[in-house]
């Protein structure tokens, strides 16, 4: 049941927030574990980005000239140099739209 899953996901998410603050002291986390956990955003987000850009709705590879590829590369380049969240999204989306609507 999906409503139940919202509540379980909510409790689980709250647990990720509250557990360390209430139960664990900073000294209890090993140096190595802290280093590995540091990579969590770098492993989870690309796992969503890559298929979202490289694959279509049915899970087949898009062509190299797909607007999504152009939009993603633009966003990566702008993001790399500006490190600005808004500019990254806006540049990616607008270059994606330019390919779709102009060319």
């Amino acid at each position: 049941m999906t409503w139940t899953s919202i509540f379980i996901a909510g409790i689980l998410t709250y647990f990720t927030r509250v557990s360390m603050v209430t139960l664990i002291r900073k000294e209890m986390i090993s140096y190595n574990l802290r280093k590995i956990l540091n990579y969590v955003p770098s492993v989870v987000f690309p796992s969503i980005i890559f298929p979202g850009v490289l694959l279509d709705d049915v899970g087949a590879f898009v062509t190299i000239s797909d607007p999504k590829i152009f939009g993603a590369i633009t966003a990566l380049v702008i993001g790399f140099f500006t490190r600005n969240v808004i500019l990254t999204i806006v540049s990616g989306l607008s270059s994606y739209w330019i390919v779709i609507f102009v060319f």
Binding site: A9, L37, V40, P41, I49, L54, G71, A75
Partner: protein, 228 residues
């Protein structure tokens, strides 16, 4: 010594630039929820109960794509596991609070709020009411996220499908990781997990969302061993 209210206002002020990205992200999220076929109430409930933008999108995407509830919940857990690290860092500054206050303030620990408040804590470690900074940044982020989700739910239906709003999902995540793009080890780990996700995308029950981050973390462990 600053007053509670002053520190609360500094928290709001410090996180303000991030609201410019949280607000459209919330609108996009609300619109995507509807576009994926969920009801307004169901879409909004994720913002109130889960309150974690990226994980909410993945949660709804996986459910709409036919993934099991277990997979969707597990994915939310994996994506939000970064809060363990935030909590570990913040615990140093929040240890003085009563249990009730810790339980309350923990609900508001999100990426942007953690980032700006942790900077404030480092600069003002002994300030008695410095946790009001986290409350200020967290509560304004919470309010903007709730409001923008509701706006997106009702504005989304008038946004034409040709705009391809779904593409905003990978773009939003690209914007989140841009700060790590200058670190070679992180880029390497991103490539490993991203390519693994692409390779395992058609695996049963959308398990790629669990398999590929684990492969990426394993790669991170190897890279850290080699660095020593």
């Amino acid at each position: 010594m600053r007053s509670k209210y002053e520190i609360f206002k500094i928290g709001i002020k410090d996180v303000a630039p991030h609201l410019l990205s949280v607000f459209p992200f919330g609108i996009i999220f609300g619109a995507i929820g509807i576009e994926l076929g969920f009801s307004p109430l169901f879409t909004y409930a994720t913002s109130l109960i889960i309150f974690g933008g990226a994980s909410q999108i993945v949660f709804l995407q996986l459910l709409s794509g036919g993934a099991s509830s277990l997979i969707a919940i597990t994915s939310v857990g994996i994506i939000n596991s970064r809060h363990f690290l935030y909590g570990a860092v913040l615990s140093e500054y929040l240890q003085k609070l009563s249990l009730i206050k810790k339980l309350f303030i923990s609900y508001f620990i999100v990426d942007q709020g953690f980032a700006v408040s942790n900077q404030y804590f480092k600069k003002n470690p002994t300030e008695e009411f410095n946790h009001y900074h986290l409350l200020g940044s967290g509560i304004i982020l919470w309010f903007i996220w709730q409001a923008s989700t509701i706006m997106g739910i009702y504005l989304g239906s008038i946004v034409p499908e040709e705009l391809g709003l779904k593409f905003a999902i990978p773009l939003t995540f690209i914007a989140i990781i841009v700060n790590e793009l200058r670190k070679f080890d992180h880029v390497l780990v991103m490539l490993v997990s991203g390519l693994a996700a692409t390779f395992f995308y058609n695996a049963p029950f959308k398990t790629y969302i669990i398999i590929s981050p684990l492969i990426g973390l394993f790669a991170a462990m190897i890279i850290n061993k080699l660095k020593k």
